[in-house]
Amino acid sequence: MNCHLLKLDACTIRFGGLTAVSNLDFQIKANELVGLIGPNGAGKTTVFNLITGVYQPTEGRIEFDGHSISRLEPYQITSHGIARTFQNIRLFPSLSVFDNVRVAFHLHLLSGVSHAWWRGKAFAQEEKEVSDQVMELLRIFQLENHRDLFAKNLPYGDQRRLEIVRALATRPRMLLLDEPAAGMNATEKLQLMNLIQFVKDKFQISVLLVEHDMQVVMGICQRIAVLDYGIKIAEGSPDQIRSDPKVIEAYLGE
């Protein structure tokens, strides 16, 4: 039982009369790379928002590492170890690249307001540690030369990368990526696939990938779930999904 890191148990969410996601069961194991796909309007982003606490399920429950997280605020869910990126990049545009990552370390700070004012040894020590760790992360993702740039002045691909770095800085056990390949060309997609694989292996975390792009999803996911009209119509390995008649029907119509 406990091998599941994230567990969605019969989750349903309704907006007025519309059932966006219906009776969804879905699990992710530790250190697993799972894809969630589906045609437009299938409810992928809604699932994403359910897990991250932007919406609360009307029925059912969501567990992360044995704790129920279905009624928590987004920031509390992040503190349990789920980090995310956004479909349309949401960096802190007027903060430097360095500070974008630094902010995300805040969950693991021991010092707060009073330490910032007193500025004792412990505070200096911790600030230095944070700064070192930020630089290390930036180095791993080849962003260290941009550390003093405004995030908004970064090229598009770097912004995507920075968003992932920022999410990793919260030290998650699971990373949720919301359409990371949107707006990328073939080369960039290839780089992205390598990057996701690298992140998963290097940081030993689970990754949930919500994505439109078949090439990316089929290329790296160990397991794929398919949503259509808020219902899970298939789940399995990329090969199983590729040949599943229900999936083909959902995507191509009859």
């Binding site: 949401r90 802190f92 007027s94 805040h106 910032a116 700064s131």
Partner: protein, 315 residues
């Protein structure tokens, strides 16, 4: 400031003590202007924490200032003579210090009361609610007879001097900068830039906003106490929303989230009406025209020069 903050603080406080010995040699008019400048620095720098760094638009700073002014004046007028009869010398200074802390403390408490319900609101709505809050404070003060009603409080002792104003101005600057220049404090800027993303990074945005509101209200209260003990009389009219707007204008002209600029703007905007004294009739017209022209020509503020670099450098 960034590198050796505590050394800076102690040095600055020593300077404050030093310069306060110069006060008796100053022309009283100049001294009054200098003290007003200092009080406005406290107000503008503290408001900048909310409006500039945290990106919330408060138009109610004068309300917190009024609370501080009334609380501290009431303390020195009514409570202090009973607790410390025949106070003089150091004791009066201590009484004044206590009065200021009391004013700041009550204003900070009011900051929580206002902050908690209204922080779900954004932008214009928050502005108008904080403005409304300031007006409610004024109406309440007008109705409390023991605080002088519409006439206000008179005969407040002249305790405010160069030393206290300098100390509090330095403390305000230190507290705001030290807060913002920390990993914890980057959270304020994150809230300003994108609340949704900040939440996703585990930042409790409500908590940050309330901290900003409370710290800023505390110093507004202190400034109110200094103001009351400088002018010797206060009334509800002196804390109307024009007063709040004056402070907001200092923050915006200084270039939001730019403490140095805000200090300069506070100095400039306090001196401007004094300089325009010869054309007294037209000075407010000139002031408002300048405001419009500045907004049209330099919307980023008077004192923001760097454009391609983050406004606060990384350590």
């Amino acid at each position: 400031m960034q590198h050796r903050p505590k050394t800076f603080l102690i040095g600055a406080l020593a300077c404050a003590l030093g310069t306060s010995f110069l006060a008796p040699y100053l022309n009283p008019y100049y001294l009054d202007v200098i003290l007003t400048v200092g009080i406005n620095i406290v107000l503008a720098v503290s408001l900048n924490l909310v409006n500039g760094y945290t990106g919330q638009f408060s138009l109610g700073h004068a309300g917190f200032m009024a609370i501080g002014a009334y609380a501290s004046a009431a303390f020195t007028l009514f409570a202090a003579p009973a607790i410390f009869p025949n106070a003089n010398g150091w004791v009066t200074q201590a009484v004044f210090f206590l009065a200021l802390l009391l004013g700041g403390g009550i204003a900070a408490a009011a900051g929580i009361v206002v902050g908690a319900p209204s922080l779900r609101l954004k932008g214009d709505y928050l502005a108008i609610v904080t403005l409304g809050f300031g007006e409610i404070i004024r109406v309440l003060l007008r109705n409390v007879d023991s605080l002088g009603g519409a006439l206000g409080l008179n005969g407040i002792p002249f305790y405010t001097n160069l030393f206290w104003v300098a100390v509090w101005a330095i403390l305000t600057i230190y507290v705001v900068l030290a807060l913002v220049h920390s990993t914890f404090g980057r959270g304020f800027l994150a809230v300003r830039d994108d609340e949704v993303a900040a939440e996703a990074m585990g930042i409790n945005t409500t908590r940050y906003k309330i901290i900003a509101f409370v710290v800023s209200a505390f110093f507004a209260g202190i400034a109110g106490g200094l103001y009351g003990h400088l002018k010797s009389s206060i009334d509800p009219k002196g804390f109307d929303f024009m007063r709040s707007i004056e402070i907001v204008v200092m923050v915006i002209l200084g270039g939001m989230a730019n403490t140095r600029g805000v200090i300069l703007a506070a100095i400039l905007l306090t001196l401007l009406p004094e300089v325009l004294r010869p054309v007294a009739e037209y000075r407010m017209v000139i002031y408002s025209l300048l405001l419009i022209i500045l907004m049209l020509t330099r919307p980023q503020g008077l004192f923001s020069f760097r454009s391609n670099r983050p406004s606060v450098r990384t350590p």
